[in-house]
Assembly symmetry: C2
Homo-oligomer: 204 residues x 2
C-alpha cells in the first residue's frame, strides 16, 4: 500500500524533534526567560511559522520539551544501566554505577530541567504538570540503579542508600551549575562508592 | 558625645534589613522574575522612593540580598554547630548534625539562593559575583560540619565524607522545591547518619 504522506510526516517529526532539542539547549545555556518560540526556532534553523505550527504557544513548547527531556533522560539511564549490569560484581562496579549516575546529573538535560524546576517553584500550573513526570522519572531511576548495583531493594538499608545516592547525584549536579566542579566531584564519587559498597555488603 | 544622627541611621538600617528580608521571601515564593524593587518595597511596607534610595537598581538590591543571604546562612549554621558540638559523641550526635545540615537546605534561604543560582547559570555578570561568595560559604559550612561531627579533617576519608554529606544535603534541598519531601528525607537522613557514623569510626 502506498503511504504518500509518510515523507512529509517524517519531515514534520524531524522538525518537531529539532525544536525540542533546541529548547533543551536554550534552557540549559541561556535560561528560562530566553527560551521563547522565536529564539528556539532560530536556533533549530526552523522558520517561525513552522515552529508556531508545531507549538502555537511557549507553554506548549516547554511542556513538550519537558516530556522529551524525561524520555531522553530515561533512555540514557536505561542504556547506562544495561551497560553497567554486565560488569563483574565488586567495588569497581559500584563505582562505575555511581559515577555514571552522577555524570547524568551534570548533563544539559539536568541543567535544562533545573531551569524548569526553579521556574515551576513559583508557578503552580507548571508545577502540577511536572510533579507526576518527576515522580515517574524518580521511580525509573531508582529501579535502574537497583538493577545496575545488583542489590535487593526490599532490604530497607539498600533501598535508602540507593535513594541517598540519587540525592547525592542531584546535589553534585547542582554544585556544577556555576563552576566546573569535576575534580572535586571525582573524589566524592570515589569515597561515596567505597562507603556505599561496604554498607551494602555488610551483614545487618 | 551627642550622636544626633543615630536614630535616623538606625531607622535607615532597619529599613534596609526589611527590604533585604522581603527580597529573600519574594525570591523563595514568587521566583526570580517577580522579585523587583517595586514588589519588594510593597512587601516590606516601605515606600518605593525609600526603597530606591537604598537600592537604585534591581541589580544592587539582588546583590545586597545575596550578601545578606550568605551572612544569614552562615549565622544559622554557626549557631547550629555550636549547639550540636555540645552533644555527647555517638551515632545520635551524627544524626543530629546531619539532620540539622539537611534541614538548613530546605529553608527559604536555600530556595531564594536556588532562584539566584539558576538565573546566574545564564548570566555571567551575576555568576561572577556569586561564585566567590558561594566558595566562601562552602568552606565555612564544611568547617562547621567538621567541628560539629568532631572529626579530623586532615583524614581524607573524613574530609570527603563531610563533603558528600553537604552534597547530599543540597540534593535533598532540591528535591524539596516542588513537593514536600520531608517524610522520605527523614528516612534518608537516618540511614545516611548510621552509614556515615560507621564509616567515620572504622579503622582505615
Amino acid at each position: 500500500m502506498a503511504t504518500p504522506h509518510e515523507p512529509k510526516q517524517d519531515r514534520s517529526r524531524a522538525t518537531r524533534q529539532r525544536l525540542l532539542e533546541a529548547t533543551i539547549d536554550c534552557l540549559a545555556e541561556t535560561g528560562w526567560a530566553a527560551a521563547t518560540v522565536a529564539v528556539v526556532a532560530e536556533r533549530a534553523g526552523v522558520s517561525r511559522g513552522a515552529a508556531q505550527h508545531h507549538f502555537p504557544t511557549r507553554e506548549e513548547l516547554i511542556t513538550a520539551a519537558l516530556e522529551y527531556m524525561f524520555d531522553s533522560r530515561n533512555e540514557q539511564a536505561k542504556e547506562e544501566a544495561a551497560r553497567l549490569s554486565e560488569l563483574v560484581d565488586g567495588v569497581a562496579r559500584t563505582e562505575a554505577v555511581v559515577a555514571g549516575l552522577v555524570e547524568s546529573y551534570t548533563s544539559s538535560l539536568f541543567k535544562a530541567a533545573l531551569q524548569v524546576w526553579t521556574h515551576a517553584a513559583a508557578d503552580p500550573v507548571l508545577r502540577e504538570r511536572i510533579v507526576p513526570l518527576e515522580a515517574k522519572f524518580g521511580r525509573a531511576s531508582h529501579r535502574r540503579a537497583v538493577e545496575a548495583l545488583g542489590v535487593d531493594d526490599t532490604d530497607p538499608v539498600a533501598h535508602h542508600l540507593v535513594q541517598a545516592t540519587l540525592d547525592l547525584a542531584r546535589g553534585l549536579g547542582l554544585a556544577d551549575v556555576l563552576t566546573d566542579d569535576s575534580a572535586r566531584r571525582k573524589e566524592i564519587v570515589q569515597q561515596w562508592s567505597v562507603t556505599l559498597h561496604t554498607a551494602l555488603n555488610a551483614a545487618h
